[in-house]
Amino acid sequence: MGDLISAIITVVVAIGGLLALLGGLYWLTSKLPKKWQEGARSWVFLLPTMVALIVGLLIPTIRTIYLSLLDDNGKSFVGLSNFKVIFTTRGTRLTVFNSIVWVALGTTVTVIIGLVVARFADGMRGEKSAKSAIFIPGAISLVGAGIIWKFVYDGPPFEVGMLNSITKSIPGLPASMGGNGDRIWLLERGFAGADPPGSAPGFNTFLLIVIFIWASAGFATVIFSAAIKGVPDELIEAARVDGATDRQAFYKVTLPYIRSTIVTVATIVTIGGLKAFDIVAATTGGRFGTSTIANEFYVTKFVQGRGGLGSALAVLIFVLVIPVVFMNRQAQKRAEEMMGA
């Protein structure tokens, strides 16, 4: 009880102090010459956010970049050798491959599912319930999603694997595809006789990407659905009168019209894929060749305590996100130009 009270007092004093500081600074600006007042005031309002960004984002980023250039003990400068390690060690190189597959496959399939469902659900009977059903997974935390799907993929000695019971019920399905119903799906890297080498993503990675798609497709659907509803009816009618089939009207009018929305969703899903950690951690923990860069960073830095390599992995994610953000901005600009703005 005493702890709670002192915690409350601390919070109140801290917030009150901050407000008092800002109020004081604001008051001070009124003492400035007129021509500086407006500029000074905007800085007063920017200050809290700036401080939060600098302390919480900028300094850690610079520090992480700095640490990535040191050895694992943070003692001596090793240049880019941590990055060299990432790309020359089989285990870490696989995590980079895996992350690339996550982004490429996860984003593409999510966007396609989102568009297909949004298009065909639009105006359909039961549209709302269909869209809710597909949106709900997105409201579950990715850890929760991972645990749910772990049950789906489970195998012996547990009898809960839904996928096994499905594959078992398909007559004539070979054992390599789960025909016996005794596959431990997340453990097996091969599928249907194909046996990927240790340096390539295995089938179990694809199973994890399915979870990611399951969790993201609802978000994509809802956003696309709103965008499609935003296309003026007259445009579609004009296309129909101009001789377009429904399909042509969708491809030639609706899709270009919602292009900037597609780019935005693709960017968000891509970044989500690059950051993929929760699903991996909750299902395989990165074992059996399923680790991603983000998971590998966590394991390396906080489990194994290798500061240099861990930081280098974190920096790698950062570096990979930059072009995505940049491409998003370019694509948005192009989309705006396309609309003649």
């Binding site: 003026p232 007259e234 445009l235 009618e237 004009a238 296309a239 129909r240 009168v241 101009d242 001789g243 377009a244 089939t245 042509q248 030639k252 009018v253 270009p256 019209y257 292009r259 130009e337 396309m338 609309m339 003649g340 703005a341």
Partner: protein, 384 residues
Amino acid sequence: MAGVTLNSVNKVYDNGFHAIHDLDLDIQDEEFLVLVGPSGCGKSTALRMVAGLETITSGEMRIGDRVVNDVEPKDRDIAMVFQNYALYPHMSVYDNIGFALKLAKVPKDEIDERVRKAAGILELTSNLDRKPGQLSGGQRQRVAMGRAIVRQPSAFLMDEPLSNLDAKLRVQMRAEIAGLQRQLAVTTLYVTHDQIEAMTMGDRVAVLKDGYLQQVDTPQNLYDRPVNLFVAAFIGSPSMNLCEAQLNGSELRFGSRSVALPDSLFAARPALRGFDGRKVIMGFRPEDLEDAAISGDQDPAHRFSAQVSLVEALGSELMVHFDLDAAPVDSGDPDAVEVIGEHATGVGRFSPRSRVRPGENVEVALDVANMHFFDPDSRLAVWG
């Protein structure tokens, strides 16, 4: 080229709203027919039914010799100009105009030739590479026209294409569209709520109200011989003056005033005799009034006095508003601006030589030969 025929076409929406009642229209080949009416009269619905964007509940629709009730819009061989133009924002002007041809798999060089020709006619050649967002309202309107004319369709359908333009441009485009239609000689159905557009552009004008066709005729006939009260009040600006009156022999009394009707008037409207001793609705157009001081008609039986409430000097004419103590008449136009008060009001289009002032009493000379009469019950015009 083809005519468009509607036979007892009805439109009932799923919610039970009956938007179009037994509409019969016969648009001749190469004719420019304007469908006009106040807001909510069903004119856009009728046009969209011709386009195939709305289904037909009952009746028959033909384009040329073909019944198109169940034909998709894309297979109707029609081109449509939308109120908001509905240009594809991501396509250049060139692609907007050529879109339909591309869908129809017309060879590339032919598309190019036809798009450039249409752009030439509409003076869009220097804008072919621009996006609709970079164009002015008038230019967008032209692109929308270009998209229609490049198709060389059986019929043009235009849904209030000028309503988004400013007044000056509207007058200019009105003449251009009418001229273009004559030049291309394509059957055209044009929807507007603006009776001036209807009168100036159409070969014939169809007046629609509450989903019922009121009258189809040439603009001049609509103006001179409206079949009912609504058409009489709707066509013409300022509107026809209307008020209740009492016919006693050849004396027509409205409020405390009266005029004498000549025999020639009864000869032209034999049915008017049947209203002797009864109420009748009288109507007279503003241009059939003149300041008696300068009027050529010196017969005191064709005059009445009125108190002037407002004078609008337009240079070439004076719009003189005055009050009458007769009972007002509601023409049934939901868009009418006048508030129906206790007494009827009137407007006269006087010569600018008139010296009337607001507040004064003025002697008004009425050209009785051009008066209109309506049955107060059926609201139909009283003629033969």
